[in-house]
Symmetry: C2
């Protein structure tokens, strides 16, 4: 979930300087229109310490007209507040119609902290998160706009920032014992955050995860997202549209395309070290060792009734089939099934899109290998427009919920994205054309998909951001060298099985 | 919640016989149109044993074309099924587009049974219910229509039915040891059901509670509700509307008005024994005793920091003010506040409608008396059309969630509906007009409200059905005799406080 917010997205200083006045103008304009609108706007900042929550809130106050902004941070509840239900203090602080409120951590703070400190169980945590969902739904049902930003920093980046602050006389006070104590619990914090984000990302109040390392980038992302959320809400409101007709021309095109470029340029796939290779002799040795492990582990898993589900997604010609064969080669034929997923049948089309995957769940103790999967909804269906934006956005939550049920039932779920570079793909396509027995593998559709490389890259990046969860993480496989990729897949699978069997 | 399904609603045999052919025709017609529609219809029957779940499912198979109906009952999961996640067997059985499926208990069964048997805690139960909500939302998001009927019988009525079946050679097999064992756990079952219904009644998949005692009544209610649900869904679907244009004239008016009459004639208010009285001497004695208790109990509650919130709703001139004064008369002025609720202020209007009630929550240990309350949304706002149907329907869930938070925080919540008959109200209005110092109390609005007696009765009945929960039940007060009513209020309050203090 957070991998996609640790890719080092940043914005050049000159572009930032040139674009800030444009964005400020737009924000002031929507704020002005909001004053007459029949709904409030609630912005929530949560996330990792030092990722820029309060800085961004301050900046918005600077950029917009602070008279009409409420900014709320919360300390431990007062005696007065403890005497009322937990949400009381937030209800009190809700903005009236036409106003904007910036909430820092707020209602997410204590549920997450209590879970990190293990004062609550996962079930109790879920109940609190459910209470939050219901609270937010009550507000959005009455028209409120809720925009939630999760500001993220990787563990190393956070450490770096703390160290830098400790040396800065103006910021030294911000790094206390608590900061380092929290830092040591980083993994537990991220695990709780992962769960919270999964369970409270609703259609009406979705989370947006923002990489917080570069101040310019995160400020622009938050500013434009806020602008767009208010604009969309104003467009839905006939009354306010009449009250303040919006300008048709928007001078922001350059700003938006700049940000789009940053999203494209910095993504989880481009962070991979694609030069990794494995020499043939070392490969043969590793293959034998990993296949041996896998065979043994699967026999144990079978005896214990533990099922494994593998998901393979990736570019055309990235080596999915080859990797699958190295796995099945280590297994007893009765122990696995390979399920190739292509266009749905008529019967499947007449059901919910997840229905056909539910059907294929195997009995206990087996390995099911999905060659392409339910991720089609947020990949090909998104890119080709077979699913509407509403549908594929909803898909992330539906998929997470589906996978939670699998894992909750004790199934081991291992997901691989097989990655190759665009050049490598071209090389393989040409090779296939030349080789008789490989020619059937390449179709005009493959060439067409290749034309949408950038769109697919964005879709993969968002897929990883939204569905690489604690319970079902994605493994990104550097596939330019087939040997390296195959061993990485085998070893990852064997390691995960080993860990699962120890439980 | 279930009081409104224990009022003895029934339908006369002749009317039933005359109307069944009409309803069958309509059901067949919508079923025919459904065949070409791009969505499935999922009907869920759950509820108390012997309340007619399977009988109604059979009847629908008889009334409609059974070729296009899937009916699914579930035993304990098989070995095969246990090897997959809990919802697997229901996913498998989901109907394709254009079809109707009747599910008996299905995904609600084991969560409720496990809670009744105390194999799960409330938090674990909530997590399962949340899983169900997410599952149902995934289906309705893709267009499925979900209609859920909770078939109810009171404890006595269930016993009567079991006894009758035991004497009937054809039905004897249906009453086993399990039946009586379940019957003895009736209260626990109802408590779990109450929680399940509260947490899984969503806008897209709401529960309808059906009184199951009279076969004719329950069959008609289910049949018409199903017909209406399918019709509404067809109307939302442009494609199917073209495929099969619907007839403009509906011969069902008499059927629907008959059912509306039954709803009006049998309701929670009409079940009250309005002849109850208390003689003045006994009243004085009781008043002294109950006020003494209340004073003592409130001092204890205050010392322990336990707050109490009282809600008074009721007809104009039903004696709310008099009852409130008998309570405050027993209390220290520092210990309570009376909060009269009338039309919202401008500031209040600019917030969520619950905001003004959150504001008024007192510090720990106090009594807050709401003279009218948040129930305005589902009473006056519903009847006067200030709230749309969507808004007041959503209100039930919002109110339940609000009250759960109060009770969850340790607050004692006691809700009174002050009831008088229409004749008694007229007598009091006339009396007020005649008496100088009471004249201010009566306004033209009171006369106007009186004209909507039947609408208000329906609204009160539904309010009790949907918001009289285990955690915050309604007390209906027979108020034709003021003395009786005041003592009932005082005693109920003192009893509830006593019980709360014992916890």
């Amino acid at each position: 979930m957070f991998e996609a917010a640790e890719v080092g997205r940043k914005l050049e200083k000159e572009i930032y300087k040139a674009q800030v006045p444009v964005l400020r103008n737009e924000l002031l304009e929507v704020q002005q229109q909001l004053l007459n609108a029949p709904f409030p706007v609630i912005v929530l900042f949560a996330g990792v310490d030092a990722a820029g929550k309060s800085e961004t809130a301050s900046l918005l106050n600077e950029w917009m007209d602070p008279h009409w902004i409420l900014t709320r941070g919360y300390m431990d509840p007062s005696e007065e507040e403890l005497e009322r239900p937990r949400l009381w203090r937030y209800w009190r602080d809700l903005p009236p119609k036409g106003r904007l409120a910036l909430f820092l951590s707020a209602w997410y703070s204590s549920p997450i902290r209590d879970r990190v400190a293990r004062r609550t169980t996962n079930a109790e945590f879920d109940v609190l998160l459910d209470e939050i969902t219901t609270f937010e739904r009550a507000l959005t049902d009455e028209g409120a706009v809720i925009v939630k930003f999760w500001m993220h920093l990787g563990k190393a980046a956070q450490k770096k920032r703390f160290k830098a602050w400790e040396k800065d006389p103006l910021r030294r006070w911000r790094v206390g014992n608590d900061s380092w104590r929290h830092w040591r619990m980083f993994d537990r914090f991220v695990a709780a955050a992962d769960r919270a984000i999964r369970r409270t990302s609703t259609e009406q109040a979705p989370w947006q995860i923002v990489e917080g390392e570069d101040e310019r980038y995160r400020s622009m992302v938050v500013g434009t997202a806020l602008r767009d959320a208010i604009r969309r809400a104003l467009e839905r409101t006939p009354r306010s549209r009449q009250a303040a007709p919006r300008k048709k021309t928007r001078p922001a095109d350059r700003l938006d395309s700049t940000l789009a470029r940053v999203e494209r340029d910095f993504n989880v796939l481009d962070r991979l070290d694609m030069s990794q290779r494995l020499e043939p002799t070392r490969f043969n040795e590793a293959l034998e060792r990993q296949q041996g492990r896998l065979n043994l582990l699967q026999r144990k898993a079978n005896a214990k009734g533990i099922s494994t589900i593998l998901v393979f997604e990736g570019w055309d010609a990235a080596g999915k089939g080859g990797a699958v064969r190295r796995i099945t080669g280590a297994l007893d034929a009765r122990d696995y099934q390979v399920i190739p997923i292509s266009a749905p049948t008529d019967e499947e089309k007449s059901h919910h899109y997840l229905w056909r995957f539910w059907r294929h769940l195997s009995r206990a103790g087996r390995i099911s290998i999905f060659d392409r999967s339910w991720y089609g909804r947020v990949l090909v269906e998104r890119v080709e427009g077979f699913a509407t934006e509403d549908e594929y956005r909803r898909g992330y939550g539906e998929i997470n919920h589906f996978e939670e049920q699998l894992v909750g039932h004790g199934i081991l779920l291992v997901k691989f994205w097989m990655h190759i570079t665009k050049d490598e793909q071209l090389r393989r396509f040409r090779d296939r054309k030349r080789t008789e027995h490989k020619r059937w593998k390449i179709t005009p559709e493959d060439w067409r998909n290749r034309g949408r490389w950038a769109d697919y890259t964005l879709a993969v990046d968002e897929m990883v951001a939204r569905t690489s969860t604690r319970v079902a993480p994605w493994t990104l496989v550097e596939g330019n060298d087939k040997n390296f990729a195959r061993i990485k897949v085998l070893k990852t699978l064997a390691d995960r099985m080993e860990k699962r069997l120890r439980k």
